[in-house]
Amino acid sequence: MDKVKNQKIQKQVERWDLFARLTPTLFLATSLILVVFDVVPLEYAFYIGLTGFAITAVSWWWWAIFTIKYLISILSRASTNLTDVNNEIKIVKKELEDLKDER
């Protein structure tokens, strides 16, 4: 279950990476061409850019919060499991020492 979710998050990170890499350049080039050739008024391009920026910022913020929450839960579970393993090793070690002493 964790593995599937981890892979999902990894894919989402890759998609965000690609989005951050391509969107600014594509938007700048497209809007410059459209504005220079008078297809779209500059004001429209400005507000479209502002809206896109706001939507991206809010989406990224929520995605980051949920991902961090998930990572913390994984970290916490891993930490608890490690503590359990550590305790069990201590018990096994003690039992081995007791066995040694009995001999």
Partner: protein
Amino acid sequence: MKDKTYRLVKAATNIVSGLSMATLIVLGVSYIGFNNAFVFNNAGIAVTNNPVTGDQINFILEGSRRHECVLTKVHSDAYDDATGERFPLDFARKVYIRSDDYLGSDTGVVDHQWGVPKPDNMYPGVYRVTLYSEFDCVYLLFKKTKVQIFDNISLIIE
């Protein structure tokens, strides 16, 4: 794709994307600045030959202009302080007394003086003049029509 080529492409797209983002931010901030700017800053209009005794009312406009703007429309009215009666001032018959490119597009300090004929039916008294002006302003690749209104210009006719 080879690992080295992939890394190079990734680095190049990172740089291009960063530069694009910086350009977008600079253009956005410049646009907001241009959009919100007035045509004239720290500007004022006054009548220089108050109280007016002749047939001409002389005005002075002082201030500064940040962006290149061209005057496209102008309209001015004088209102009688006591009765509120309106007297349109004929800007089509204005004469320049001193002008350093009020109608043109130069930026910087503006010091402009002009005169308009006193309307024939204007009687002695105190008036408030309003001046409505429309400009086409340009800055980088931005263009916008802007309006600047000057009001409460004191005029005394004798």
